[in-house]
Symmetry: D2
Subunit: 341 residues, 4 copies
């Protein structure tokens, strides 16, 4: 089959002809890729930023946001059959450790992450396991939802946590209306009655946020914390969902928080630095967020099937991966780039 | 191997020589039985009460509370190895349905129940799967804890739910200090600061309850609801855990409940019958309880290993199954009867 | 002032000239009535059904769903001032008992219920206390929202509880799309992403339910449980909100419940009667629901101010109370009748 | 009456003769002081550290951990009567703001803090309000429990939050077994089945921790994070309760945390500084903790009345305040110093 493989860090991946993946364990599932999201993390991988973390052997196939159709299943797989359209949870989990048994499979003690630490979906076929496949509604084309598998799932996971405490009258600030943030806005609208205040540097991103249901938008021009104070009667918001996590977003974000409020750390890059006296005197919380669970992905697909979460995608033929990476790198992609074999 | 099998309803089971169970699926696990609890349900099975519900083919091996040592594992099993001491969750679950993925494996869409609807543990060996085996602490002998696998797990599950809402100052009533109830008392003591009021007809059971940590005991002599009223300043208890569920326990139990209180239905047999006006005007809740999850059993074994939950057991050689069933039927068993092959 | 007072049970109330209420305690608040909902309970009061329960002395002023404007406040009142538009929580609570201190003021140990056990709002003025007044958004006219004070608040309270467990993909059944039910539908739409299945005998009520956002409607023609089974792939719904509570609704409703599902008892009149074996084997719960808390009413008013919950009302001059009661009794009121002094 | 008042920052307070406090509002309560805890904050106040924060006018009476007997109540007080023994919640709250109505009175929009921003309990009498008085069990002497009113309540509040997620098998690390920490240990033992690992620099403090129920103690000699790793099979603890909050405790503490674990910030002084990549990749949370609510104090008094939480106290006559402050400053107080008028 054809596969886009990284051979050397800081070098463009190459289109190779490689053997098709095969079933090697009873719970394995082979998926014909219908779409594979291209994400900023893919650029970082090529730059070598993940080299030490994953130790993945080169060459290997990138692509960690995948959807497609099942073509073959292992002997112990009962939940899907060849032909089924599926989206793939990014993690291949063990199902037997304490975390998996609680339904908290994101913290599986023995998971693999195709596209990051093993062969991924920039290819015609991918091997995953039965615990990673979420059947898709007939109305959802794999290429249209693939990019929800990781970025969207992370946004969903954080927004769902926030939703638990957002009653009518509550305000939630979304910092960053980009790839993850604009999914977060849609999820918050679907799951909560909270008033949404969206903060971004880009007027265009804020315009999109409005069409997705933001109640207020705030240009991040340096006065954003003051603007949020004004929109919240000087009290701040019950929740701040920070999809940026660097470059001053954190300092501003903490100032936007109400007493006893929750700060959701989703974006990353910067350092959270807060005097403990400020944490205890206002009794605020900082909540870490990783990607969502399998159940979260099932729920997100329900929202997608009902049109409550939509994603703008630009598709590229698999052969055109170079152009996709380039467009992403140059900021020329509106929404999410998806490779279609 | 030797196995005690039921050949005909309303007839005593027989000790047969049968083939050893074999691995037939990648997640299968073969366990050498170290102890198998004998339970009132076993008598009901022989009487034919479960015939229509399970449709199990005869002859089959009874025994649904099992612990022992792993002897062989299927090709996909990574969590236990031959020689490991284990207790078995009563259900063999699929791991792939929505309930299993949430950690709520009790509501698995495709589970089996060895000893009830397939061959169980009144035998030298039992086949189960990797999702049912909980590794045992080295200090816990399988025969000593086997009877916690079903009865104990049910009591744990209900007590854990109740613990979530029992703050210091709260009162909890335990109706029935028998097989399940006396486990429930120990779990409540370990998990909550609530004051425990234990109600039973038997003075002996109440004496045991006291040694296990009951703060107050009430003889069920007809005045029990009044006595509970007195012990709760006329307010009733925040929680009632009903391990009886028949014969007047329900009517009395509901009278023992405080406004906005929770009634845990655990024992069964009777019918819950309450005017809706009484439910809404006091805003009380009725909470159903089935056996606990795999995670619950892991937690219960932690309590057992630390001596916080103990069980009085009487062991019988496997060949003596007839005497065990007879003793149980005649009320001659103190604590729980366990067959040891 | 003018007030409609009940002088004798089973007799029409009369319009009397009575002294204006006066401040008698530091937390008292006098409210000029802008609207007072007329409710089926008012008919039952006249019929004497509440006589034994409340022991209220006759004559007294009915009217327990009230909104208006503050005219005078006691010396300890800091939260509202004369001129403020307000809606009144139905209970006048103490603020000092354990329940009040937890925010659970519905279970206040020493509350009064104007219109039920003391003088209510079928009058020009009403005395309540500072703990019962919820300031109204400038866009909300008291007469338009008065009927949300009790009926709407009960529906809100139950729907909010249900919302906690309703994730995307979950189904919720609403039994009864009448006065309370049609508020419940709107609240569920605002608070949850669940698919709503609304069951009612009346095609007209179902049509309204659809315009309010019901995803499916089911005519209660005897086949309703089967229809719900079909709409839920034979699994039943995660939640059933029963706004009827009598006349077969309960029996049907329990059949509509999924394993581990929650049954919200809101309407009343009948008796909940379920074998305990059915409660434990499916692990279902029955949740009682009384009126909501002060905080619930604040939240409901937020939804109303944002147009997410609306109420169809028919206003009558206070003098026309007889016609209002008559119309209600004859089933001639669409939506809710409101007396305006 | 006699009262110890601060006249000038950085100067010793003086024993003055001042007028007795009087009822000035309907919810006021006058309490004859039975004991007033002397706390490190009192030293900080004298040093002027709180001057800017509170702006309290001098001279004023210090003392913010108070218990005693009610001597007089305002006209609207129904919950206590003269002669009742009481402990005082540190905050005098309004009861009418949104936070108070939710039971979250710590975040009251209009609270006073006697001893900090108004006259406190280093005196014969103190004025507070009905919302601050918690009736004491007859077995509890005011002087013995006074110091639980603020320090103990803070420890209780944090430990109760932590208890919600600590199931059997979970590990909790307590950093700092001093004034607050040793209460925290007792509360955790009463509320959870978790294994407790206590970390402190002082061998004596760790010895006390053991007698209070710590399962493991770790000397903070630089290797504490490694020791905790060893005690948790390299996984870290589900919860870390940091009663120190400065001087390296934070950096160490974060290293002791398990994936998805919760870090409770209670002590303060230092700065929490964590790269966001570490927060999201392990999905950890930081939970701020202020003093507990009124309900929390009621619950803590239940534990105290049942002997589940005890406090070592050293009493000084009110006139001896200078010696008490001096002893505290010199580290000569074992347990808590309490002034008794």
């Amino acid at each position: 089959m054809k596969a886009v493989r990284l051979h050397q860090y800081e070098d463009q991946p190459r289109l190779d002809e490689v053997p098709d993946p095969v079933i090697s364990s009873p719970l394995d599932v082979i998926v014909k890729i219908g779409g594979a999201g291209v994400c900023r993390t893919d650029l970082h991988i090529i730059e070598g930023q993940w080299q030490a973390k994953t130790g993945v052997g080169l060459p290997y196939v990138q692509g960690h946001e995948n959807a497609g159709w099942v073509t073959e299943v292992g002997s112990a797989v009962t939940s899907v059959a060849p032909g089924d359209p599926v989206i793939l949870h990014p993690l291949v989990t063990c199902g037997l450790c304490a975390a998996c048994r609680r339904g908290d499979d994101v913290h599986c003690a023995a998971s693999a992450f195709p596209g990051i630490d093993s062969d991924g979906g920039f290819a015609e076929y991918l091997r995953t396991n039965a615990r990673a496949v979420v059947p898709l509604d007939a109305d959802l084309a794999p290429a249209e939802v693939a990019a929800l598998a990781d970025a969207g799932l992370t946004a969903y996971h954080a927004a769902k946590k926030a939703a638990r405490t957002l009653a009518p009258g509550a305000k939630a600030v979304v910092i960053g209306a980009g790839g993850l943030g604009h999914i977060g806005i849609q999820v918050l609208r679907a799951l909560t009655p909270a008033e949404l205040i969206v903060v971004d540097r880009s007027a265009q991103a804020l315009k999109l946020a409005e069409t997705l249901g933001a109640h207020h938008t705030v240009v991040a021009d340096g006065s954003q914390a003051d603007q949020v104070a004004e929109l919240t009667a000087g009290q701040g918001a019950e929740a701040v969902l920070d999809f940026v996590g660097e470059g001053g977003a954190l300092e501003d974000g903490v100032r936007m928080l109400r007493r006893a409020g929750d700060y959701y750390v989703i974006g990353y890059g910067g350092t959270l630095s807060v005097p403990t006296i400020d944490i205890i005197s206002t009794e605020i919380n900082f909540i870490g967020n990783l990607v969502g669970s399998y159940t979260d992905l099932v729920e997100l697909m329900d929202l997608a099937a009902r049109g409550l979460v939509t994603l703008h995608t630009v598709t590229y033929p698999l052969d055109d991966f170079g152009r996709a990476l380039d467009d992403l790198n140059q900021g020329r992609v509106r929404g999410r780039a998806v490779l279609v074999p």
